[in-house]
Amino acid sequence: MPTTVTSTTAPSEWRDYYALTKPRVMSLVVFTGLCGLLAAPGHINPVLGFTAVLCIALGAGGAGALNQWWEADLDARMKRTAKRPLPLGRMTRTSARDFGVALSVGSVLIMGLAVNWLSAIVLAVSILYYAVVYTIWLKPRTPQNIVIGGGAGAFPPLIGWIAVTGHITWMPVLLFLIIFMWTPPHFWALALFVQSDYAKAGIPMMPVVAGEKSTRRQILAYAVILLVVSLVPWWIGGTGAIYGVTALALSAAFVALCLPVASRLAGQGDTMKPEKRLFAYSVLYLFALFAALVVDRVVLGQGTSA
């Protein structure tokens, strides 16, 4: 583990603790978690539904804090992350660790007591997966780190769904797989056009390790898999045609935007338009796809627990 200890130069404010939870990541987590909850068959008391989404958000915040506790030295070496509270020395590393543990344990316990224990267990697994398997173990070791990290981001809709149904079926697992397949093209598109200093920090990101060409090919490969996976909920009868047709259109467009990205190489002074377009679309894609899932459920009322 990293050893340099940063001394505290300024008193920590509540905002520093808030920043530890990665609020911007949390907005996507809350959205997909809520969609999983709304799309699941069955009913949940609104108060308990709110509690479930709150616990998903708090758990993600706890995992984010643990991630920053572990990576404080690494963050200090990259421009994008150098302004986080720990690299700035605004709090001690111990405070960040304890804050992360408190949020994680608290969110799992509340989820278990208020909602159900299966969703609490999956929430605990997702936190451990992000904080330990991803952050500590695999991120510094493999260029597949983004693929693995995508797993962490894929948990919220699964947890939201289980909060309602109390058991794991194919549908929530498919929602997990959709985000899992979506993450690599989403992130690598960004990695292609953002001059990042991951190399400087010693993190093996795919474009640096496998080269630009291979990364571009893999973007397309994941997009094609995503196209298929996003349609399975419809094929197995878990959703109606509203979701099915929307998913087909959205995913086809995703593949179409990946084609130019996959078939070119950036030259000197490249504006990287296709990559930027793909990245912007990928965010829209996920919001629209999950929104379609909820609309489908509300309008058609279909959705066996298949």
Partner: protein
């Protein structure tokens, strides 16, 4: 430590305490609501 630094520390501590107080208050309300939801369900 200069008086300014001492002031900054006091201000930051006050802010943290206030935030923690609000969080605890929020938990009280949440647990109360959960208890009612459980009893009603």
């Amino acid at each position: 430590m200069t008086p300014e630094e001492q002031d900054a520390i006091k201000r930051a501590r006050k802010g943290r305490n206030l935030a923690l107080g609000l969080v605890l208050l929020g938990l009280v309300v949440l647990f109360y609501a959960i208890a009612w939801a459980k009893i009603a369900g």
